[in-house]
Symmetry: C2
Subunit: 187 residues, 2 copies
DNA sequence: TATGATTAGTCATATTCTTGAGTATGGGAA
DNA sequence: TTCCCATACTCAAGAATATGACTAATCATA
């Protein structure tokens, strides 16, 4: 019951096709959730039969036709209900953490490499989020935007994404350093 | 193929029963993964038939009997393989973020409440992690422990957990403040 | 002396997420 | 002009995860 509301929330920004949504959810630019195209198409079909979104066909000359979706009043009401209900806390669930947990019983070298790679990826995502935030702010500075800006939601989730990626980057760099140092001393 | 390695990594700390593991994974004290008891019992049975862990019955007088598990050499080799293979980046996937994404189209009040509640939960978890870290360090200070301590893995994943919970707490508090202020101005 | 919590598990079902393979067209680079 | 990439979407099957309902004993609390 979760992807459902993520899709509804994503469609609040305007009309999107399944393909467009899929790209956003795949990269995680819709940085509050992640899903694959197949899931999204299925979910969109379900939401439409439930009347929570409505789609309209757009005939294109040069490209395959597409369907654009928007949230209906019923969809908005469903989001409203969802937001008012409690939700359980989220957990980190990350292969890399499992590897680090085991690191003093196995070969550290590949783990160090993966930490460094992950730090690079996180830094790149942080950069993307920083630029996206600047774009969402328009001309205003942050305090101004938070006080009076329109479409606050995406900005706030993007802030979370930025914080998360920075934390990830810092932790990965630090831990890689610690492990590198230890494997230098105890080869 | 993920819980499997999380269980193997958790069992590196010593012998545990399914029940003990379940509690750790449920609270997320094994803060690098989360799973429900049913999943763990199933996984332990599978791991045992695969020869990656071995269990021994412990007869108890006052309590139901239990089985304690430990990682076999084969299990360690499997972890080794797992750690050397690449793994894809992790994504945040959080109901609360979906609600925040939608917050300027729906009633903000329940979302603010949930942000404040989540901030409290995150602060409490951060506190638990801080104490756990102190216990793991023993007498040493952090730099000393990271350079020369034993059983580094759990310490490092706990550091990640601490960073994550602090980030969560700060973001929730900040966003709750922003939304409270806005709903005060635009009631 | 009931009541509920804790220990220690099991079984079945349902939902969600991932993997892999396709269809079809147009545009740009080699 | 061939080949790959982007757009736009579909179908099927499998693995992982979550939900709900059970058994059965002991221990603490009200």
């Amino acid at each position: 019951m979760a992807l459902k509301h993520a899709v509804l929330a994503a469609l609040l920004d305007g009309e999107y096709s399944g393909y467009q949504l899929a790209k956003a959810f795949d990269v995680g630019v819709a940085n509050f959730w992640h899903a694959l195209p197949q899931q999204l198409y299925t979910e969109l079909a379900k939401l439409e039969t439930e009347g929570l979104i409505s789609g309209r066909q757009v005939i294109q000359e040069t490209r395959p036709n597409k369907r654009l979706f928007q949230v209906t009043d019923e969809g908005l009401a469903e989001l409203e209900r969802f937001a008012a209900a409690a939700s359980k806390p989220s957990f980190i669930r990350d292969d890399l953490l499992v590897k680090v947990q085991a690191v003093d019983r196995i070969d550290a070298a590949p783990v160090i490499e993966q930490l460094e790679e992950r730090a690079r990826v996180a830094a790149a995502k942080a950069e993307v989020f920083t630029q996206l935030l600047a774009r969402l702010r328009g001309g205003l500075d942050e305090a101004e935007f938070l006080a009076r800006g329109a479409r606050l939601g995406p900005y706030l989730t993007c802030l979370r994404g930025l914080g998360f990626e920075r934390e990830t980057r810092d932790w990965c760099e630090r831990i890689a350093g610690v492990l590198r140092e230890r494997s230098r001393v105890h080869p």
